[in-house]
């Protein structure tokens, strides 16, 4: 069975690009447009990885990371945070929240896949 990844971003462009890249590499991709939506999409379904943007309406990416970390089913699911330009502050905030790692936007498809390989079991 192919691995499932949930891509969370309020920008459709970003979702499309992440999804396109991952599907091309054989992943199954779920999409959500903000943190709350992501939690709804997740439900109790097992996913192998969550990739989330930080700045989103309703529930931002860091709150989502915290929610995932305290979730009975998903607490050990890796979560990658999408940040722009290697912003050290954002990275450490992400880590504090419990993120597994980060991807710096804009990313090349290969880079995204490389990072995904690094955290996706």
């Amino acid at each position: 069975m192919s691995k499932r990844i949930l891509a969370v971003d309020d920008s459709k462009t970003m979702r499309d690009m992440v999804s396109f890249t991952l599907k091309g590499a054989g992943f199954e991709v779920l999409e959500a447009h903000d943190g709350q939506h992501a939690l709804t999409v997740l439900g109790d379904e097992k996913v192998n990885l969550v990739i989330t943007d930080v700045n989103m309406p309703n529930m931002d990416g860091l709150s989502l990371v915290r929610a995932v970390r305290s979730h009975p089913v998903h607490r050990s699911t890796p979560v990658l945070v999408l940040t722009t330009e290697g912003d050290a502050a954002k990275k450490s905030e992400g880590r504090e929240a419990g993120a597994t790692g980060w991807i710096v936007k804009p990313f090349a498809p290969e880079k995204l896949l490389q990072v995904v390989q690094k955290v996706c079991v």
């Binding site: 309020d10 920008s11 459709k12 462009t13 970003m14 499309d16 690009m17 396109f20 890249t21 091309g24 943190g35 709350q36 943007d53 930080v54 700045n55 989103m56 309406p57 309703n58 529930m59 931002d60 860091l62 709150s63 915290r66 970390r69 050990s76 699911t77 890796p78 979560v79 999408l82 722009t84 330009e85 450490s92 905030e93 880590r95 504090e96 929240a97 419990g98 993120a99 597994t100 790692g101 980060w102 936007k105 804009p106 990313f107 090349a108 498809p109 390989q117 690094k118 955290v119 996706c120 079991v121």
Partner: protein, 696 residues
Amino acid sequence: MDDFEQFKSTFFAECSELLADLENDLELLQGEFYDKETLNSIFRAVHSIKAGAGAFQFKALVKFSHAFEALLDLLRNDEIPVVEAVVTVLFHASDVLAQMIELARDGQEPESGYGAETLAELDAIRFTARPADAAASANAASPDAALSNGEDAPDGMTTFLIKFLPRAEMFQHANEPLLLVREMAQLGQLSATPSLDRLPDLDTIDPEQAYLSWDFVLKAACSIQDVEEVFEFVVDDAELTIEIEKSEAPAAIEVTEESALPAGVESKNADTRSGRPAQVSSIRVDLDRIDRLVNMVGELVITQSMLSQQTNDMPEERFVPVVRGLEELALHTRELQESVMAIRMQPVKSVFARMPRLVRELATQLSKKVRLEISGENTEVDKTVVEEISDPITHMIRNSLDHGLETPEERIAAGKPEEGVITLSAEHRSGRILIVIRDDGKGINREVVLRKARERGIVAPEQNLSNEEIDNLIFAAGFSTADAVTDVSGRGVGMDVVKRNVQSLGGRINIQSTPGAGTSFTMMLPLTLAVMDGMIVAVGGEKYVLPITAIVECLRPQREALSRLPNGLELVQVRGEYIPLVYLCRAFRLNGGIQNPSEGLVVLVDSDRFGRIGIVVDELLGQQQVVIKSLEANYDPVPGLSGATILGNGRVAAILDVEGLCEDSGTDLGSAASIQGASRAHEVATSQNETREASQ
């Protein structure tokens, strides 16, 4: 990154929405009714634009949106107060951003230095609050500097000695050592020695703890940065040392854990409240698909009306179920058509939302005080109409502010409140949208308007015009009442262009003015450009469609009301006004059309350049909603026709273009244009004769 090319159109569509939101939110910032979420939302809009721009490598856009975003970040974190001066800069920045996006969409690079001024303004505000950023920004000029001071790419193999002791936090962050080992193994030859020293007995083992550690030896043709990158996400959650094994100068680079971050740092953005209006769940659909759908439904409507026309002749009692079925089909078809049209409907809000800002800026520029009142911004019209009304509305508001409203001093002198009011409203009225722009200014100065019109030869010196006609002169080509061409009015576009644009959309525009009390522009537009209410007329056995909007009235003139000028131009007298006639049968060279208007019908229509015209037809067949088919797309443009439609009997009927028709019926009408408004026959005759004499 070419794989991503296909997402550009999504990106630009998203940008349009984000820019509209941005504009809206910035408007809110001006008032008192904004909250934290407004700032967050502004930040997100710019942030999303930046991220997309980065993906498509629009470098200028990235650079600008970065500075914009950086300032917004400080604003939303209360590091800089939201004051008017800052908001003004934000507005400028949003303009530059919109412009840059437009250029990017057209595949162009902005000129070097474009937006530099605004960029400097953004940075100035930011750096005043955060001097450290200025230094960082200066350093950022050489972003690759950090990369060059490591190991140079090694020619041969390097041996790395890596000690790796994960802590429990690493697992809590869902990092997996096995994957790191796998990644290292991809770099080169890897051997691993696990250490089980810290592993307790099974009965005391805590499954949430980390007990294992490893010593790795990696022989690889890579730099130490490559190895460090493998552990990028875990350096803070593990004890890690990476050394290069070299006989001389063992350059050890130790990556130790950072001192613990302050505990309990709450995210500043943990704002999960849903204070914003509930989001409408929506999907984005390519416009082409919708157009195809609209087209198909159009075909369906035609087929349906063909079917029902044919069953009209059937003996109803014998085919009751068929007739019932067809009636139902008609009902459902109409509903389907309405629903499909509704897909393309959008509120005029996106256009109206831009106006407060326009008014504010103009008012400052003109030193006038004005309040803009908007109503009906949720009125919906077809997307194409929304796109087209922006310019006319902008222009009319500009006009009202520049020419209509007085200065505060003048207003006080006239006994009016110092602050002028411009109202902009939209509403649905009888299947059309009515947009009214009203000001409480000084109204149109008819003396000045008439004098200018005479000076410019728009009105003949001896012509007497009614107040309404004088008011409407401001729509005449080449007319501008501004004594001095100001920044505001001198844009090279006159009200005549506005009127033409509105008419090309199948709409009408009117002006009413009361001296001293103000002026109002009324714009009536169709809700959609895909269907139209048409009057089917018959001429010489052919059927044509006249847009209902163009029709003023229909009449069968008495023989006495008809007259002919020496140059052959025929006129009909209607309530004392002489109106030139155009024979459809002659215009389209049809045989058998009625040649005497008193036996047929005259349809009075308003044309832009030729004023009121009477079109002579055989008979009126009735009013019908028709689906507009493009002639250009399916055949060739034909003068006098704006399109075609398919009638219930399956035959094609041409849709008349009043303007083109008048133009095509010869130069006679051209001279007739100058006689519009003449109220007596001899005046007409005289002026025609003069024209003739002058040209001889």
